[in-house]
Amino acid sequence: MNATQERELTKEFLQRVHAIPNGEKIDQCLQCGTCSASCPTSAAMKYPPRKILAALRAGKLIEVFESPTVWLCASCYSCTVRCPAGIPFTEVMYELKRLGITKGLLGKRTNGPAMAETFVDGVYKRGRSADAELICRYILRAHPAKVFSFVPLGWRLFRKGRLSLRTHTITGIEGLRKMMNAMGEGDAL
């Protein structure tokens, strides 16, 4: 990605974030670090929340996309409720996830996109998510070599009748698909 493309990426990201309710507050970040200090997973992030905004301002957003950072957000909203500037940072993380998927900019060593895509496929197919099917498809997609590592827990749940191999498709699946197809693809909200 050259400098022009990087500028375009930053511009598009900011446009999308500004379309989120209170998203424009991203411009008022004080770099105080309350977000990173509140984040339960920031220790594992190369770019914790505060650094993401620092990278954005330095024109280095691409480095954020290339790290697994954004998919380490567990969506706990601790940063959002504490930010003194009122930035809805969890929504910013969601926007980074969406933009990364749209642009094919996915961090290495992260399984988040595989999980999200498997989940979305299942919902489009049945209108509901079946845990057993979701986990099986996810493992085959993300790390087929580890397919047996989930067996012990799966077996414990299965014995309790908590792992149903039956799947349910909603009666109104055709209608739901018509709705989904009628809805424009979502950028930011």
Binding site: S78, R98, L157, G172
Partner: protein, 300 residues
């Protein structure tokens, strides 16, 4: 929606209550029956999309919720759910629908393409909010037949009921569960992590992080002398319950503790039996807790 007569609610179980967390479904239905809450399962409901859908497509994520809201509106009922994730996803979509007129137009048009419509007249509630704030102390105490004297409970909320909006309770120091536990005779213990994150979906996608986050919660609850952890979210329940052996090995200390849904704890005080609360489903030794004998408490 109708204030004059006893309200009837649309019950939204959510996908995980269909199998993995069916004990939450069973105990919820029975608790509601005893408390006289009329809840009718929302017909042909669809998945709310949870957090993964929002990470891919925000508009279609909102649309998924809107279909459920539309069905409930047809019956003039508010939605009640016991899953924190379903609660937040449905509630957030509902707020977006109200606040963003262009999105509202798009959603309605898409719904109409599938023969439905939504006008924005449904509220989304979590059962805990309903039990504590609508029914209240007097109504609950009246139904208690077996006060859980001496049971020490670590009240665990997780994230998505209280954050980001903080409308149901304080976003960092919620107290709904503690109040409810007091009404049924149990003793809430302060373990200081009631609204901390269990790791959510990261337990599956990034297990190292998930095990650490859930591990800290288990460790603190044990340290505080709790007999059990009481949860209000199916994913939290699974994360805290299913990996205790691995977490104990990882931290080098015994982090095993029964993990119960709040409906199971409440249901026990209401006199419901083991099948009505689906005790058999538990992976942790919940029997002693539900029999009114605090496992850890006995040693003291």
């Amino acid at each position: 929606m109708s204030a004059t007569t006893q309200p009837v609610y649309s019950y939204f179980p959510g996908c995980s209550l269909e199998a993995t967390n069916r004990a939450y479904d069973v105990s919820t239905r029975n608790v509601a029956r005893v408390l006289g809450l009329e809840m009718v399962e929302l017909e042909d409901w669809n998945c709310c999309g949870a957090t993964p859908y929002m990470a891919i497509d925000s508009k279609r994520s909102a649309l998924l919720s809107a279909r459920n809201l539309a069905i409930s509106e047809k019956h003039r009922r508010d939605i009640v759910t016991v899953c924190s994730s379903c609660f937040l996803v449905l509630h957030k979509a509902n707020r977006q629908f109200h606040d963003d007129s262009s999105l509202r137009g798009e959603i309605r048009q898409a719904l109409q393409a599938g023969g439905m419509d939504y006008r924005g007249n449904v509220r989304v509630r979590h059962l805990l909010d309903l039990v504590v704030n609508d029914l209240g102390q007097e109504a609950i105490e009246r139904h208690v037949v077996r006060p859980l004297e001496g049971l020490k409970v670590a009240c665990y909320y997780g994230c998505q009921l209280v954050r980001p909006f903080g409308e149901v309770d304080d976003p960092e120091f919620p107290r709904l569960l503690e109040r409810l536990m007091g009404w049924i005779g149990a003793t809430p213990v302060d373990f200081g992590m009631g609204a901390k994150c269990c790791g959510g979906i990261l337990m599956t996608t990034q297990p190292e992080i998930g095990l650490d986050l859930s591990g800290k919660l288990l460790k603190q609850a044990c340290k505080a002398g709790a007999d059990c952890i009481c949860t209000i979210c199916p994913l939290c329940q699974m994360n805290l319950e299913a990996y205790q052996a691995r977490i104990s090995a990882r931290f080098g200390e015994d982090c095993r503790i029964p993990i119960l849904y709040f409906t199971q704890v409440l249901g026990t005080a209401l006199g419901l039996g083991r099948d009505e609360l689906a005790w058999e489903d538990a992976l942790t030794p919940v029997e002693m807790v539900l029999a009114g004998k605090g496992q850890r408490g006995q040693h003291e």
